[in-house]
Symmetry: none
Subunit: 200 residues, 4 copies
DNA sequence: GATGAATGAGTTTTCATTCAT
DNA sequence: CATGAATGAAAACTCATTCAT
């Protein structure tokens, strides 16, 4: 909490941000400390002033990366009115094929690869909290929909199912080149909403 | 003169099998060729008589591993009578907590890590075919269930959903330490069967 | 001189001959014993029945190669009548741009590379005898020319010079891509013959 | 803050120089990076701070080696007055039997071996420029001789011949143990000067 | 604080040669 | 005689981390 620590935290972010293009070019696991230093315009030794080790650097990069996308998620969902749209927005991660989202998706794929290798405990923990974040978001969306009388109370039972379905789509999209995520999601969501939407 | 020709395919399997414990101890990506050679009780150079390179070794190990489990899957499902049981069996991979299955599950986790890193094309292709194998198995189970009049024809619409749900459970179980796969699956499957099962 | 030895000598030649294309494809220094065995259609171990070691193989290949070209040289020079033509023929090695001669020239380049590396004493010795062979050929050609009264007796003084000039052209052609061997040789030889040719 | 930046070019030279004895002992192609590091009194990794790869090391060693001898050539020729002496000096490389020149000559032999193996493009190019350097030096010497009225204008026609003769002597000396370079050169040069020298 | 030069452990891969059959 | 399976020494190269300045 001392001013120094704040500064350190800031510097970590700066370095992480400076690595965005680098990550894209060479991949998360292939970056070297030398490249990080160069990208950030600092000395190799200086990197170690702010980071414990290389893992710590990758962790920070992912942190910044994902926090940004969480923020974007909240940002975008704010302006969305109907619950159905919000839930569809929840699937944006796997359905949106914009350049930006593809980059983000690929970044998450690399991240997941590291997590599955169980190479980094803090990254595993962070992944847990990310999942929980989105799980809670979905829960809130659904609850709000019930409160708004857009959804039937039964919708509550489907929160986990929807979330797990989305995870499955993530995995399929990451591993199966011919998988049509958009088609699967739309079919699934429309079916679900048949059941949970309150009819006037 | 003497027919000393060795069956390469068989030797590959033997070496791969000899690495099972090794894999468990150090992880798939961390094995060294030296360790493989030692585990198989052969020289380092001999390893290269049977494998192109280190990736090829890992690939063979995974192949043997997964083929075994495919065979086991078919074996076990043969004796199962009801369609519901068969579908539950389809979820055995994520629900079964026996020592053996946990090892298999962890093997697949490591494998997935490599696939997600997109480091090895042949492994990506192999993963694709694995997914297709199980997808087809599920399709057959459901079709059979419909033919047997155990399931309603509407069940066909749920094949993809079930498969994606399972994938989602796989991913959650791999990344979320506190996730209760068994509970989620049972709830989901019971709900599904409420809808697709033919009532007498 | 026992029949076995003769047989062995023959087998060596056979193996060497079988390697001609191989040499061309991968280069003299890069051939492996395994490739030699395969090219010759025999087992790797059998190669060692006929050759001491890898160097011995290369040596035999070069031997066969060069002997063949010595034979060709003698063959072709037989039909040549005038001394001037014979001397020009002596320069065929560096002036002839037929596919076949280019292959031969490149073979000799590789061979020289090994000799210069002083890696193989027997090859050095063999090279010495090759040089002597051609030096003697030139000497004979010139002597014959003097006897035939085509050349002046002074021509004897130029034998070494011509031979060394040819060596120089060999080296230049091997190392300088833009060197025009034909042009240099023709100019040189025409100048020389101005001086040594007997005018009627 | 402190300017610890190291002069890479200088360090390359230092390492190269430190390898002179090593080269002599084991040969240019047989040195290992480990040996280079040890000879230079640095770590193996440090070698790679200054050199791209092993070839780069060898190249630098040759560069330093040859540059030094070019410099010596120019140095020595400066003090030589008569054109004849200068041309004899041009043949110093093959005639001089001092310890130092023998080492230099052997170094060049090894170098040529690499060039002839066509293993290294930059070394081939460098060799081309070396040849051109000496060719130009000879041209200048001859032109100067003509200007000084020491040589007849006809001398111009002999530049290429002299150069190629020297190359031939180089090759002979490198491959024929019993070859008397000094004798051949002296005979040749005296004959040539009979023709090109201006008589008073 | 900042730096970047120095480091060396650790890994993959090749291939001539041997020798049991 | 012939074979080819087995071998292991040997070598290049990478890169996270340290620490003197």
């Amino acid at each position: 909490m001392s001013p120094k620590k704040v500064n350190k935290e800031e510097r970590r972010r700066e370095v992480a941000l400076a690595c965005f293009d680098l990550i894209h070019d060479v991949g998360m696991k292939n970056i070297t400390v030398a490249q990080v230093a160069k990208s950030a315009g600092i000395g190799k030794g200086t990197v170690y002033e702010y980071f414990e080790n290389k893992e710590d650097i990758i962790f920070e990069i992912i942190n910044v990366h994902i926090e940004y996308h969480h923020k974007m998620f909240l940002e975008k969902i704010k302006d969305v009115k109907s619950t159905k749209e919000k839930v569809f927005h929840f699937f944006d991660f796997v359905m949106n094929e914009t350049e930006e989202n593809i980059r983000h998706f690929n970044g998450y794929r690399e991240y997941l690869s590291i997590v599955l290798a169980e190479e980094n405990e803090s990254m595993c923990n962070f992944n847990t909290s990310c999942t929980e974040f989105f799980q809670n978001q979905l829960k809130e969306i659904i609850e709000e929909g019930i409160n708004n009388e857009e959804l039937l109370p039964i919708a509550r039972n489907f929160v986990d199912g929807i979330m797990l379905f989305e995870k499955g789509v993530v995995l399929m999209k990451m591993t199966q080149t011919s998988f049509d995520a958009k088609f699967s999601c739309e079919k699934f969501l429309n079916n679900i909403f048949e059941v949970i939407e309150k009819k006037q």
